[in-house]
Symmetry: D2
Subunit: 385 residues, 4 copies
């Protein structure tokens, strides 16, 4: 491609958090540019947000429906190529379906939809249209996560036996949703977030990360979701025993009431011959342990890493790369796929290193099973996807 890829954004206006992260991530390599947006369900707010972002007024739309309609009519050299959806969970499905129907490729925040039923329909639609769909489980974009996956994939760790994956946060340890936190209010609202708050928002990242690194699937859960903060209608903490199709077993937990924790996603994967440990808050180090050798610290940017990890770094070792760069790696992979599509090539989406609609469907099935398990008296609930 000898031009930048053009995108529009749904959501992500003033006061939003994740929209800004998406924009920085998409723009990072200088290969994408935002050309339009429907930043808010409030048309005035949408326009104001667009102005902040230095967009021309004519491309700040009052709704995603308006945007898709108007953009579709623009000349090919001007109209957006894909849409980025960064609304609350309940508002993923409508714009995603509409975008696909209008012929636009989609990047969508996680969890993919509000319900499993929606997820199935959306995955089906993606398949039917042949359009690209990237679900931003952004943590898999970190180079050292890719190194971990390669160590499993190549058999260097041996057959995987156990996995511990955790996502502690503390920001919801008191009821801040009633005192003006926009981030907290929609996540704790069943109408916007869905059946689960904590597991939906961050437990879903745990499941995705564990499956990505282990190259296997979680098949059963035994979960207990808890609401610790009084008056909150959804879970703010959850623990689960997990089983994988490979025979591996483990523990998955997430919490939003773990006081003092910031964004502590971490994973430990133990195989027969070796193990890996990774913490999102210090993402450029992968601890690798062996049965009979000193523990290794592998580091982003080093020459000894696998290609996927090497390609995931923008800087020499020791120049910390963070959340935004990892996020940018998803956009880079999506951009690679999209460039090929726009150049008229036929691509298989699974050949590209970003989460797709099928991963999104699996994530919804995991959440569904976890919520069911939490209410069940029996020990295990199967994941259907």
């Amino acid at each position: 491609m000898n031009r930048k890829l053009r995108y529009g954004m749904v959501g992500g206006g003033r006061g939003a958090f994740i929209g800004g992260a998406h924009r920085i991530a998409a723009n990072m390599d200088g290969k994408m540019e935002m050309v339009c947006g429907a930043f808010s369900s409030d048309p005035e707010r949408s326009k104001a947000s667009g102005r902040d972002l230095l967009l021309p007024e004519g491309r700040c739309y009052a709704s995603f429906a308006d945007m898709f309609a108007a953009e579709a009519k623009l000349p090919a050299g001007e109209r957006m190529d894909f849409v980025i959806i960064v609304t609350p969970n309940s508002m993923h499905y409508p714009p995603a379906m509409a975008a696909l129907s209008a012929g636009f490729h989609v990047v969508c925040d996680k969890p993919m939809t509000f319900t499993v039923a929606e997820a199935k329909k959306l995955a089906k639609k993606v398949k039917e249209t042949g359009l690209l769909f990237c679900l931003t489980h952004n943590y898999t974009g970190y180079p050292m996560v890719k190194e971990a996956r390669t160590l499993v994939q190549s058999g260097q760790l041996g057959k995987i036996r156990r996995v511990t994956v955790e996502y502690p946060q503390g920001w919801l340890s008191s009821r801040i949703e009633t005192s003006g936190s926009k981030q907290a209010s929609w996540r704790t609202d069943p109408k916007q977030a869905g059946l689960t708050c904590c597991f939906g928002d961050i437990g879903s990242h745990c499941a995705n990360l564990a499956e990505y690194i282990t190259c296997s699937k979680i098949t059963e859960v035994c979960a207990e979701l808890t609401t610790f903060v009084k008056g909150r209608p959804l879970d703010d903490d959850g623990n689960s025993l997990i089983r994988f199709d490979s025979g591996a077993r483990g523990v998955l937990w997430a919490s939003q009431i773990a006081v003092g924790e910031e964004n502590g996603l971490n994973i430990r994967v133990y195989g027969e011959k070796g193990a890996v440990k990774w913490r999102q808050e210090e993402p450029n180090t992968l601890i690798v342990t062996w049965t009979d050798k000193p523990t290794e610290m592998r580091r982003t940017g080093m020459g000894y890493l696998c290609n996927a990890a090497k390609n995931g770094a923008r800087l020499p070792a020791g120049h910390p790369e963070g959340y935004l760069e990892a996020f940018g790696n998803l956009y880079r992979a999506f951009g690679d796929a999209l460039s090929q599509v726009l150049s008229g090539k036929k691509v298989r989406e699974t050949d590209f290193d970003y989460p797709n609609a099928h991963d999104g469907l699996r994530g919804m099935a995991f959440l569904d099973a976890s919520v069911k398990s939490s209410k069940a008296r029996q020990k295990w609930v199967k994941i259907q996807a």
Copy 2:
């Protein structure tokens, strides 16, 4: 006391590991001395071990029965005051009961007995005789564990909500018990270890540590114990959801197949207002987090610590104190109690900071419930003790 306290040892001869740790710990403060031992069920081996340890030949006994009989006949100024039992699990109960019957105070390694039934009988015997009984859940001897407990006890962390306690080890990730490891062979042998290997050996420390710090009791478990190494008759890995009588919830897991892990006991306790994190492998730091303040690193030996933590240190801050010093703290507390008893004072064992027979009984009940839960189809199994 103007003399050293005198002890005999059951087990802990050549080739043993924990016996040596007990001796260093007991001797650390120069207030206790070993005067006799029945170091092995093999009389020759027992004598040889005694010689290694510079004991007079006449006090190296062929059996614990011989030892208790002979020592009981010695003049008060010579005979041992208490016995230290460091045999495999199956051989805790017989010498412990015999010692109590012979009027000797007891220090016993964990888990307390082979079965819950034995544990009940032993606890009853301790009560009846009025003798002292210390169970060496040694990890509670670390100063920063005491600081953590004080932070909970004083209410500074608020009501406790969730607990994650883990004990990863990797030394049994292959079947070393068949190739000469004495430590591995008895622990994986149901006849010597009991119903469980991994949970019995190290999961029991998790439960004890969690209860010690949170000042509450685990009431229910939902566990899955697994044997990953083929041919091994007992579990080498286990995961459990746990519930506390205080309403707290959490996760407890232990593993002996976590390749590359050494002795990774660690705990995180989250309350409404603050949280503590502690890792046995770097035991002199306690991480304390708060909702609205910088994270603290509290350190062994500092003046700002609680008294229990301050008294638990032998050196100024920055002079690392380790496993043996923590172990020594149990002996110090037990020695304090014993000195008072020997001086004719009446003491309540629960006033001293060491685990006692009741803690031992609780530990056995935890193991029993965990093994039952692992086989159950229902989700939760209650702990009866």
Copy 3:
């Protein structure tokens, strides 16, 4: 400003490292865009680099002189606002002087010039023209560096007594400059790098960082620069005792032969009442110690930080921000100043939080004194600037 700020780039073509970092940093907040470049002294290479970067062919210039001339003739609504200079040290001064002469604001990589004499002339020119000049000592862009500075500035640490600042790297521990490393070859070449390699390239960051955080000036050095790798004409390692105008003392060292080190810039500043410690490789944590309180870990993104630190973060706590984001903060501050200038406001450059030409001159004087000291038999050499 209701438009993006426009820049051209000198240097930074194919095979370069730092040019790419500048571009990502400048573009990060969506407020700047590259519109032209003279990426290489080889016109063909310059054009090819421009194509890679999706620039229109007409604005890929054969030389910086061409670029300044051509851009100056463009209409105000099109022409670049400022130039970014990312060439080897010997080629900082010529384009910087030319840009200022042509009326363009300048962002320049460090060290500012090839010689102290150049630095003086350049600083004078900046003053005369009234144009903005930003020197990219990018490490001062990290939020936690700003928090450290505020802790000093506000007096919370008390009078500063000692400073240790280090910059270990290992990438030049063998003679890679003779086997194709472009980065290594110019840095070790006296004709391109100047009087010093190691101190010029990274020791200069140490000095700048120490002065930034301590709010004081290094006045004397006692340095030993060493070339460990045979055949290399410039230093690859250096140690220095340092004295500050505030009375503080300390140690500054940098090395390019510290095998296994990546980019380990770090600083420790001890005052009468408290101290701070910061490591570039884990930049989101600032360790703060006090005489009588637990050590604190202050973290990027938290609400308790000073305004400068808070404003320096783009994400909530726990979402690691790295080298590029810190670099972006310099561009953000420069952009703030430039927007005001372009809106016709009068600004004092020292009111903005980025290093300026005066800092650049001080840096050159530090290098000059260090090289002199290294050859001297007397202990101390004064810094003149």
Copy 4:
């Protein structure tokens, strides 16, 4: 030996710190016992201290002279074998010379003497008498320090190029010597401590550690010692450039006013092919880095370590061993030598892994040169020893 080695102690009574550490260290392996002492220059205090330590009254002496005289008259089966000297610096030489004259082997705290002249006389006396002399630079007792030394010795790191060795402490950051701290008052008193406080007390450990690990000698220093706390007659901070006989160069600094630092001795040694990093506060990890491989964390107790490191551990990996265990390793090595001597064998003291009188003399020469350098206008001062 089929008996415990017997020692007497000079100094180390009530209120002392290091005496207690020596006793725990000496007793740790159950092979040594304290049989007598002259714990204080105040006879009553000496007796009271002896009572605390459960010694028989008849062997608590009023002075070291009394002790040596009385013990020399005891039957061989009762009298002490060696003396441990733990008095302030000014009182090392007199009891050490007296002990040697009376035929007792000596363990002495560092620095060895008050002056270089004394050190020379003492080293000469040791040689003449053929008695053993152990100087307790205890930090070399850590297993991972031995691993580091082996890595150098075996050539695995290649020729050593640079060394950074630091010893930050913060406990003297205010003038606590005037408010009752016994530890502070003698160390800051020129009559008891000698020419230097900070460098004498802890800088000497830096020099010894650096020489031990690098297997080479510091030949020149360029030092600046500073007194930051007003009214204090000796240095409380010092920085030095250092040169080794091997051609290596580096930095050595120590501070007692580094607020918030506990006992932060640490060293980094960089060779042509690899490097090691070690921190006393987390002593069971040795970081080993290489040019082209992942960084290693080598850990106390692991099977892959060198024999010296393996033998230095008392516990399996992951059971933290600390300051006292490392200290115990010096006593263990000294005990091995002494056992052989007492069994009538001829030994070369340098075959045993503990610091001896020659190391003590080198330490004094290092201090002497550092103090001279600090006052000099010339850059380098040679170390004469």
